[in-house]
Each structure stands twice: as C-alpha cells, then as structure tokens.
C-alpha cells in the first residue's frame, strides 16, 4: 500500500521552507548575544542561564498551571456538549457546530472587551446584582476573570475536535457492549470514551497550546500583574527588544511542550492498546 505516499512531498518542502527555516533563525538568536544583527553574532548560553532565575521559573510554572486548568475545564464542559451534538440528526449537527464556532469569528479583542464590560466593578453584572440588592463582587483582574476569558475563547476548539471523533462513530460497538450486559456507565468509559480519545487528545492540544502562550486575555482580564510566559516572550520581542532572550524563552517553552506531548502520546498509545 504505497500509493499516496508521495502526497506528503509538497508539504515536506513547504514546511522546511516556511516552518523550519524561520525556526532556525529564531534558534540562532537564542544562542547569541544581545543585538539584533545576526551577522555579528557570538555564541552564548547566557540567555538560558538567565531563565533559570526564580522569577522566570515561577512565570512558566504559573503558565503551565493555568494552561492545564483551562484545558481540564474545557474538556469537562466541552465533552458533554460535543456528545449531545453528536446525537442529533446530521444537518442539526453541522448547524450546532457552526453555532459554536461563529463567536470565534468576532474579533477576540472585542469579545474580551465585552467580558471586561460584564465583569468590571461598575459593570453590567454588578449593576444587575445591585438591582437585586446584592453587594458588588470584584470579578475583574482575578483568576476567575482570566479563566473565564480563556475558556470562553478556547472551548469551541475542544468541542469541534471531540465532535469530529464522536460523529460517525460505529454504533455497533455500543450495541455490542449493551448486548453483552454492560451498563451505560461501563459502555461510555470502555467504548465511547476510548473511541473518542483521538479527538480528545487533539482538542487538548488545541486548547492547551494557545492557553499557555496567550497574552492578550491575561493582560486585559488579569491586568499587567498577571504575568504569563506569553506576555514575557511578547515583551522581550517588542517592548524590551531583546530578541535573544525572547528566542531562548520560546525554545524552552517549545521543548517543555514537546516533552509533555510525548507523554500525552503515550496515553494515546495505551488507549489504543486497550481498544
């Protein structure tokens, strides 16, 4: 079965040109000294040493914690929705999926401003609470507001991804499980969940990666003190202008993520074996 193997060739060439080469350019900065002129570089590991300081380590730990939490929430809240959607008639399914996606086509900054509007001290929600005689609650610039913004923004990706796996699932497996006396809970965990695992993993990736490197949402909903790895990289590249350190941080981040994904892939493999 070797037909179609050549189909990867266009992308192979494309990805070398437009993904690998820019990455090498970035890598070059990470290992060189201050100054944006590539031609006069001198090799150094200083940029990596600098990252080992507790400030920066705290930032990366905080980012991972936030990314993982956002991913877990999106998974727990998104899975049932994807599941319900996948049980509908086919045309309703694509309609609902579009309905879930459409908000993402409205500019993210605008949606974030809308949340600020809803959550701020004199905002819409507090005004409504005031009408009911409830004291205003501080929601802006907290963990809650940042998480809300991230989940609202990223959950559609989780839903699309899980739904792709769940739709067109071979129902004979489920029937077989039922016939063999499995209760609904067993059927779900041993059959449906396992079969949807590729979609879940894809969704986890699509939520986790942007969550960990996001900077606009934490900045606006959490304030400048909500320092995450994305903000750190962005500020190194733009406001500080230290591309070398910025490149080093992004390489460290990429490495950390790659390791994590290897682990996730393990789970995937184990899941397939169970199957």
């Amino acid at each position: 079965m070797k037909h179609f193997r050549h189909l990867i060739k266009p992308y192979l060439i494309w990805s070398i040109l437009i993904i690998v080469i820019p990455l090498l350019l970035i890598g070059l900065y990470a290992f060189t000294e201050e100054g944006n002129a590539v031609l006069t570089f001198t090799f150094t590991l200083e940029n990596f040493r600098k990252f080992a300081e507790s400030t920066y380590l705290n930032v990366i730990i905080k980012s991972f914690r936030l990314g993982i939490l956002a991913t877990v929430i999106c998974l727990i809240a998104g899975y049932p929705l994807a599941y319900i959607i996948s049980k509908q008639a086919e045309d309703i399914q694509s309609f609902l999926i579009l309905l879930v996606t459409v908000p993402s086509w409205i500019n993210m900054l605008l949606r974030t401003y809308a949340w600020m509007n809803l959550l701020s001290d004199n905002g819409i929600i507090n005004n409504l609470l005031g009408l009911l005689g409830i004291d205003p609650i501080t929601m802006m610039y907290t963990d809650f507001s940042v998480m809300l913004g991230l989940v609202c923004n990223l959950m559609p990706f989780m839903i699309i991804s899980i739904h792709t796996s769940l739709s067109k699932m071979d129902h004979s497996y489920i029937e077989a499980a039922n016939d063999l006396g499995a209760n609904p809970v067993q059927t779900f965990w041993k059959v449906t969940w396992v079969l949807s695992l590729p979609g879940v993993l894809n969704g986890v990736m699509l939520v986790f990666l942007p969550a960990i490197s996001s900077f606009v949402i934490p900045k606006l909903l959490g304030g400048g003190q909500y320092m995450l790895i994305g903000n750190l990289i962005e500020s190194q590249f733009i406001s500080v202008g230290n591309w070398n350190f910025g490149s080093a941080i992004s390489l460290i981040l990429a490495a950390a993520i790659l390791i994590l994904m290897r682990l996730v892939k393990r789970i995937d493999v184990m899941g397939r074996q169970e199957e």
Partner: protein, 617 residues
C-alpha cells in the same frame, strides 16, 4: 427517563450557547451606543454604522480579512488533507518527524512565528503585502487541518483504497471517491479551524504584511488607544451575514435535493474561478497606484490622526497616502529593524533620539516648511533633538495622576506621587503597565532623575515599586485604563495628559494632577526616514499638518495637546476650556524628557519590572 435526559441536554446546550454569545450580545448592544465608550451605555444611536459606511479603511480591511481567510482555508485544507493521507502511508520515521515539525506553528506563541516569518520574508526580499500575509496564513492554518484530518485517516481501513483500485479506479479516483468521503468530517472540522484561526489572527498578520495591507484585527488592535464602536457595528454586521448564511445553509440542502444535484462540478469550477478572480482583484488593488502619482507612506500611532485630513492632503497635492499605524513606539521599531521603510514616522522623543543615533532619519529642510512660525515656542529645541534638525512636533503633554474628586481628599494631593502609596486608597489604583513610566514615578517620588543610570538609584526605585505593590495592590493596566476611568471603576490612575483630557470630558468627577516632584514631559514628532524618496511631498505633508485649521481639526479629534499656537489657544478657550489636562504644565524645573536608554540599562529596567509584576505576594 429518556425525556428527562433530553430536557437536560437541551438545557445544557442552551447554557453553553448563552456563555458563548453573551459577549457577542454585549458587543452588538454597544454598537448602538451614542458615545465612544465600550463600557458605559449613554444612549441609542446609529452613528457608528454611518461611520462604518464612510470608513474606507475598514471596508478595505473587511475585504482583506475575508479573501485571505477564504483562500487560506481552501489552500490549507487541500494541502493538509493530502498530507494527512500521505502521512498515514509513510514510514514511521518520516511520519513522526513531520508531525513534530507540523506541531511547531501550533505550539509556538504567535509572536515567535511572526518574527520568524518576518525575518524569512525580509531576508529573501519578498515585498510585504497581501501575498506574504496569505503565505503566512496558509503556513499557520495547515497544521490545524492536518491534526484534524489525520486521526480520521488513521482509523480508515487501508484496504479500502486498494479495493477501489483493484476494481479499476485510478489512484486519483480512489482518493476522491473513496477516501475523501470517508474523512469528510475531519476535513470539515479542519477547514472550520483554519478559517477561524485566519480570520481572527493579529500578531502574525501585523508583522508579515505591509504597504498598507491590513486585516480587521490589525485595525482593531491599533485602535486600542480608543477603540470605538465602529468595530462593534462591523461585528454586528458580520453576525448578521453569518446568520443569513446559516439560514441559507439550512434551506440549501432541500433545494439541492430537488434540482441542484447535477450542478456540483460546474459549481466547483465556478467557485474556483471566483477565487482566482478575488486574488487578481486583490493583487491589482494594491499593486496599482495611478501612474505618475506620488506616494507617501506614513506610519503613526493608532487613533492618532483625524483621517479626513489625509483625504484633504491627497486631493490637494494629487498624491496617494499609504497610512499605517502602530500600537507602541517599540512595535514600530521592531518593524523598522526588519527593514520595513516609510517616508514619515510619528514616534516619541526618546525613540526619535534612538532613530537619530542609529541613522534611520534625515535632516528636515525647514525652508520647505513655511508654517514653522505657527509652532509654540516652548515645544521646540529639546534634548531629544536639539535645534529640531530632524523632527517637527506633532502632539505633546505630560504624565500625571487622574483622580476622582469625590473620593480623594484635597489634602492628600500635596503628596504628589506619594499619593500612589497612600494606604487609604489601597486597591483603588491603576498603574500604567510600562516599565519606563512606572520607574519614572518611583524615581521622581524619590527625588532622582528619571533618566538615571545609577544602579543604587534604580535599586531604590525598584524597592519603592515593590513596596507600592505590596501595600496598594494596584492593577497594572494598559490602555483599558481609559474606559475603566470613564466608568469610574477606581479612583486613581496614572495617565497621559491627552488621554486624561478625553476621560475628563466623559467623566466630570475627575481631575488631573501634575505632581510637584516633577514628571515626564513628552513630545511626539514627525520625522522623515532616510530612505524617503519623496522628500518634497514629505515636507509638504509636515507643512500641511502645521496649518492652523488642520492642527485644530486634528487636536479636536484626537484630544491631545497641539503644538500649533492658534490651534492650542482655540482649544484652551473653547472646547477644552474646562479641562485642565489639556494644558501641559511644563514650568516645573524638575520635570524632564525621556532620553535614549543604553540597551544594558534598558534590559535592567525590564528585568526589574518583570520581577515586580511576576513575584506577587
């Protein structure tokens, strides 16, 4: 039992949709706001829709966003799908390697991808514009398609295609008639993701495009100074269009069943043809400037000019102005350092000093600027550019404290900057999320120069700021402080005088304080880049901006203080008579102008600032 379940399911779906659509609803409601605020509704009006229709910049951006998103989606979906199919048949080593490479654009923060591609395009000499933006979008969309399609392909029975070919199908037929239909859910999901990513992208688009090509996101982000509801109006229209499409899509299949069944091949070629037309039109639109017409490229901060002035200028001087905007001086510098060139820039004092040092600018020929005499005397000849050899002032002002008269005691104002560490106002304070401005405050409060390079003084300022963080719990805000203060969310904020003038005109409870310990006096000025080929036109532009009536229109629209005497006086006596922040107080000898910072000192400030923000107790 079954019924109960379905009610619960419906309720859950509705709940999720409310969650997703709540911000959209707010966005739409505020598109009808009669004032500029995005957080306080002051009355119903259609003025933003009117503005939307007359704003050619936005309509061009819609065109760019839509065509780029469609083209990038189609191309990346095709590329990603065939790659995913090919991957499933490749050897394990190649497969894993390519999958890992494929993950890079997904896992890298946007800014890294953006800088990488910007470097690539600059180094191979591609002219930045529509085409480079399209290439970049295809590059970051394709990985999403592959990750969506690949799991579906992997689950296919590999014998299916074999069977088809045994039965006489060509490989292409086997692909198109057997494999693709089996994985169409994955393709659909991938295309949806690709479209979403492309349509909402800002960072990558900003750095890889140029020559005036902007998408909607670029416009929105550069409006952050003063986002106005025009964009909300646009979003409302986008939603409307989508709703119409969705309804059509519901009706479409029924129509299709009846009679459109035989058309698809023709439809397909029609769609393909339409795509090609779109590209040609797009390339034409930006490739073609009327022959012999002079072109001026202007690069200014977002929401920092009355755009009708640009149209007047083009009419009067028979030229085309390509107008681009940036969010901060540093963003502008990042683009310049990748080799992008413009004719006129409008940066701030310290950045002008840097640009002079690094040889980006050319001398102004003041003989060609007849309106020089219109300028206020005290805005000329400052340390960043002695004798104004390179720069002509555009707006100027100070940094100060904006406070709520109903909350802050008159008595406490004497503290000046130390008001910001008065525990009485704990949790009621916005600082400005910028290391230079924050350190300026601390250094001034301690009685040092804000341009100090003395490590002990910097250390003392760092401790002042750490102390402030611990006792005051301030919010380090960006330009969102403007809307927050208009709505009165907190009592004290550090702001630029020009922003203060606007905020005070919207919220009469506020007053502006220029602390007695001295502050930052700043100047934004027009400069001409060395590469400028239209020197005469560039000087004509500067001269045009100094005309009294133009300067007046500009300052009225933007709200920052004009350096042109007549415009300044007109505002002080008229529209801004009640607003103290419009008149910058430059009389205090302890006030200073920011100077160029040595990279080492700059890095030190940045590092300390990160520590202050990140190590929250």
């Amino acid at each position: 039992m079954k019924k109960k379940k379905s009610i619960f399911a419906r309720f859950y779906v509705a709940l999720c949709l409310v969650f997703f659509y709540l911000p959209i609803l707010v966005t739409i409601i505020f598109s009808f706001n009669s004032s500029k605020s995005l957080t306080r509704f002051s009355g119903f009006s259609l003025r933003w829709y009117q503005e939307l229709l007359t704003n050619t910049e936005i309509s061009k951006a819609v065109y760019v966003s839509v065509t780029i998103a469609i083209l990038a989606t189609v191309i990346s979906t095709a590329l990603g799908t065939i790659t995913a199919i090919g991957l499933s048949r490749s050897r394990k080593v190649i497969r894993e390697l390519l999958m890992e490479v494929n993950n890079i654009p997904i896992l890298n923060p946007d800014i890294v991808t953006a800088i990488g591609m910007m470097l690539l395009f600059s180094s191979i000499g591609l002219v930045k514009g529509y085409f480079t933006m399209l290439l970049a979008h295809i590059a970051f969309c394709t990985p999403y398609v592959i990750t969506s399609v690949y799991p579906k392909v992997r689950n296919l029975d590999p014998n299916l295609a074999n069977a088809a070919m045994d039965l006489g199908a060509t490989p292409f037929q086997a692909l198109w008639k057997v494999i693709v239909p089996m994985i169409k859910d994955g393709i659909f999901a991938g295309a949806l993701l690709a479209f979403t990513m492309s349509f909402d992208d800002f960072v990558i688009s900003y750095f890889v495009s140029g020559n005036g090509v902007k998408n909607i996101s670029i416009i929105v982000y550069n409006m952050t100074k003063r986002i106005n509801p025009t964009i909300n109006a646009l979003s409302a229209l986008v939603i409307l269009v989508i709703v119409v499409i969705l309804i059509l899509a519901q009706v479409w299949p029924k129509l299709k069943k009846s009679r459109l069944n035989r058309i698809p091949p023709r439809m397909r070629s029609f769609i393909a043809g339409a795509m090609v037309m779109l590209v040609i039109v797009a390339l034409y639109q930006w490739g073609a400037v009327a022959k012999g017409e002079r072109v001026l490229k202007v690069y200014n901060a977002g929401e920092y000019m009355d755009l009708s002035l640009l149209e007047d200028f083009q009419d009067e001087y028979h030229c085309t102005v390509i107008y681009e905007t940036f969010e901060s001086n540093e963003m502008m510098y990042t683009k310049l350092s990748a080799g992008e060139s413009y004719d006129i820039l409008i940066p701030s004092d310290y950045m002008i000093e840097r640009l002079i040092k690094e040889d980006y600018l050319q001398y102004l020929d003041w003989d060609m600027i007849q309106n020089k005499g219109n300028l206020l005397e005290n805005v000329l000849d400052h340390s960043y550019d002695p004798g104004n050899r390179y720069s002509c002032p555009y707006f100027w002002g100070t940094v100060g404290i904006l406070y709520d008269k109903t909350v802050v005691d008159e008595e406490d104002l004497k503290q000046g900057w130390d008001l910001l560490i008065n525990p009485k106002y704990k949790g009621n304070l916005y600082m400005y999320d910028s290391e230079r401005d924050s350190f300026m405050i601390a250094l001034k409060a301690l009685g040092y120069s804000m341009n100090t390079t003395d490590p002990d003084e910097i250390q003392a300022a760092y401790e002042w700021l750490v102390n402030q963080r611990n006792i005051m719990e301030p919010i380090y805000a960006g330009d969102d402080v403007i809307d927050n203060m208009v709505s009165g969310n907190k009592a004290i904020a550090v702001v630029y005088s020009g922003d203060a003038a606007y905020i005070m005109s919207e919220n009469p409870n506020l007053e502006y304080l220029t602390p007695s310990q001295g502050t930052n006096i700043w100047y934004d000025a027009m400069v001409i880049m060395r590469e400028c080929s239209e020197q005469k036109l560039a000087h004509e532009f500067i001269d045009f901006m100094l005309r009294e009536e133009n300067a007046a229109a500009n300052t009225l629209e933007v709200g920052y203080t004009s350096p042109v005497t007549a415009a300044y006086e007109e505002m002080v006596e008229g529209d801004y008579a009640e607003i103290s922040a419009y008149i910058p107080d430059d009389s205090n000898p302890r006030s200073e102008i920011f100077r160029y910072q040595d990279p080492k000192v700059k890095a030190l400030y940045a590092e300390l600032w990160t520590k202050i923000k990140a190590e929250q107790s």
